[in-house]
Amino acid sequence: MTCLSPRLASCTLLLLAIAAPMTAQAQEFPTSSRVEYVFECMKNHDSKYEYLYKCSCAIDAIAKQLSFDDYAELSTAKRHQGLGGERGAEFRDPTLVKQMVRKYQQVEQVAANACFIQ
């Protein structure tokens, strides 16, 4: 394959297709889940408009690091750390869940660093 032709655009597309694994993973995130993340993230930052960009950047950065299923599981583990009672023990006690929470915190930190999120 050569990329010397004037059909540069299609050539670029081909290159993108080769780089597919990462792209496919990112695409796997449903738009609704990205929007949901941005809503929540904005709310956690006093609903400042600039966080529309920062939080969008963050969920894209998260989607580059995790598959959607992993994202759903890890974020659930973190979210339910506050769940009390007998049921909450499922999230408080297991080492596995603690590891999931740590992993998600790392992923979010990478995203925050990449997106000017404080």
Binding site: E36, E40, G82, G84, G85, R87, A89, P94
Partner: protein, 609 residues
Amino acid sequence: MSSKVILKHLLVIAGALAVSNSALADEQLNKAMASPKNWASQAGDNANHRYSELNQITSANVKDLQVAWTFSTGVLRGHEGGPLVVGDTMYVHSPFPNKVYAINLEDQSMRWKYEPRQDPGVIPVMCCDTVNRGVAYGDGKIILQQADTTLVALDMKTGKEVWKTKVGNPKVGESNTNAPHIFKNMVITGISGGEFGVRGRLTAHDLKTGKELWKAYSVGPDADMLMDPAKTMTWTNGKMAPVGKDSSLKTWSGDQWKIGGGTTWGWYSYDAATNLLYYGTGNPSTWNPSQRPGDNKWSMTIFARDLDTGKAKWVYQMTPHDEWDYDGVNEMILADIKVAGKPRKTLVHLDRNGFGYTLDRVTGELLVAEKFDPKVNWATHIDMKTGRPAVVDKYSTSLGGEDVNIKGICPAALGSKDQQPAAFSPKTGLFYVPTNHVCMDYEPYKVDFTAGQPYVGATVSMFPAPNSHGGMGNFIAWDAGTGKIVWSKPEKFSVWSGALATAGDVNFYGTLEGFIKAVDNNGKELWKFKTPSGIVGNVNTWEYKGKQYIGVLSGIGGWAGIGMAAGLTKPNEGLGAVGGYKELSNFTELGGVLTVFAIPGNVTVASAK
């Protein structure tokens, strides 16, 4: 004719009137339940099938489901149960403060809203989140069982109170989380508070007036339990035999039965053919078994009672002398299936203790008792002659004694399955069961009883079942005729949502990540959709104007939020039973949300190939 004779005659006539009155079925409910377009009771029918004949949504087109509309309850914390649909109206409930909304299905506008004024003082005595498992419908009324033990009937058209009664006292630790059930012209309700030394019972109320018709305790003297020592039967040495005199009292030390637990917060069922009502009783109080020697009857028991009189026809205790908090309250599913090649009228019950029981629901005979999670280890098997579990010594917290940490018990106190109801498909003959795959370390300790204070007496630590897939849940298909797992679909977290089976060969359940999932009859995942919060509600289906809908409540909370609702500031004030308090996580959801799905455009049954 003497006046005495006249009086006797009058009493006979009055008695006959009372009997015929109590034998009346509620025509409205029966009619509504007969059409699969409605979802007129929490389980869709009296047999707890959670099965729908609707088949517009099929294994072929389920992937096309989209959100049709949503409704937010505005309340945080766990949303269990599900909405009812009767005709063109949906009835949705919320956790404490137990709001009820009537929604016009045409445009999702609100027909009425009911918000009871309840003393938040009940919140600290609710052990396991301020959940409510939904309302019941019958005789032009919507019945709500509030947390503070008030049972209230609302006019289904206006939401106005028709009658109101109290079935317990929160000051002594009594509360309610169960859905009321309407069978014939009676409302049946239970009580929660096993972690507070409450003495469990079931009460029956007149659907017209709320008047109490009978009350049947789970533990105590025969008369209180509406038990006939000569006629109430139980599985004994391979056959049914009378329970005998004082069958409960003999299994408790002294007066301990008075705070003996055996609460009744699960799902009840009813078989019109025999007029029998079925339900299970919860754990004996406390969780420290050393403090209550004996079998602690009839906690952890399946009860079959005559609906009209409340008299116990038969009983079967699954976990005598509970040592692990394996409440026996899970739903009793009434199914006509083959057992050992023969068609039987069975009761199927997937218990917290990890065993799936199949009994003859007419006689109470034990037919099948097998593990529905292969990791269950506290007992090797159920002795089919005695009906008792063969307990493994090293997992006995009673043998271990106080202040000894018994490790690696499977399942955990949450059970292999909690209240989240399974579904039964008469089409496949299989049960679709949401399960936990969690084990625990359990350390009992001595605890003193004070009315209205937690009476727990054990510290528990939980972890995923070892040497398995690493996750904490499975969604399984169960063959109750043979006691075998047909297939098992692993989940990362426990499955705490009620299942739905449909004639479209597609079955639904929800996960703690917030996915509602559809699987075919072989357990293959066909579709999933992420709702805004974890799902602990039950999936329901109905039809409106020719279109089939699927709905589920999402929203999970826990004790963490209770302090806020109660206006409490000290972290431990909101706690009922085990577990520590953690900081409230950032909830940004607008409370619980009902998400309703349908297939866009014109869908006909024929389009599914």
